[in-house]
């Protein structure tokens, strides 16, 4: 158990509505990540954070924003959801640095209709 809680675990929303996914960690890790996983693409990095209010873009950041106001919480927001954002979203944590292991949460299944 990596001490990561994602919410909601499942959500169905309509195109054009805003959606926020929450990731909460209990282990005080410096680095937090949001990935999406789609068939045929594997896991792809959306955004990551290396500290409170310190965030950066990943490979597939368009249409997503993030915020980290506390060490333990990392929020992923879809400002205006589209059907292409239907996916499974995984939050992950690590201490950072060379070869430091990334641990994943259980995932949030998002369907945009």
């Amino acid at each position: 158990d990596a001490g990561i809680t994602q919410s909601p675990r499942h959500k169905v929303t309509e195109t054009g509505t805003p959606v926020t996914l929450r990731c909460h960690q209990t282990e005080n890790h410096r680095y937090m990540y949001w990935y999406r996983q789609d068939p045929g693409h594997g896991l792809r990095l959306i955004h990551y954070s290396y500290g409170v209010k310190d965030t950066d873009k990943g490979e597939v950041s368009d249409g997503y924003s993030v915020s980290r106001s506390k060490t333990e919480d990392f929020l992923l927001t879809l400002e205006s959801a589209t059907s292409s954002q239907t996916s499974v979203y995984f939050c992950a944590i690590s201490r950072g640095g060379d070869g430091n292991t990334i641990y994943f949460g259980e995932g949030s299944w998002l369907t945009v209709v």
């Binding site: 990540y33 045929g40 693409h41 594997g42 896991l43 792809r44 990095l45 990551y48 990943g58 995984f90 060379d98 070869g99 430091n100 292991t101 990334i102 641990y103 994943f104 949460g105 259980e106 995932g107």
Partner: protein, 110 residues
Amino acid sequence: EDQVTQSPEALRLQEGESSSLNCSYTVSGLRGLFWYRQDPGKGPEFLFTLYSAGEEKEKERLKATLTKKESFLHITAPKPEDSATYLCAVQGRSQGNLIFGKGTKLSVKP
């Protein structure tokens, strides 16, 4: 550009039939190669980290090895509970973040 290719995409084994999964990579300066197991509807579960060519790590029926171009996940005498998707990822010096392969889906039949 850092890349990871896993093969085969899917593998069916009989219980007790040993085999290997392959992870080929290109990366500018390897900082770490990671293996994960993922069960349906779950998040990836960490298995191993390998740092340099020649390194090997074992856990129960699994052994991971690393060369300068690829890594193998050897599964010895697999059981049905080893059925899962196995993911490989690399961390390179230029990118810093993990680059994942698409995974190998392993099915072990009793």
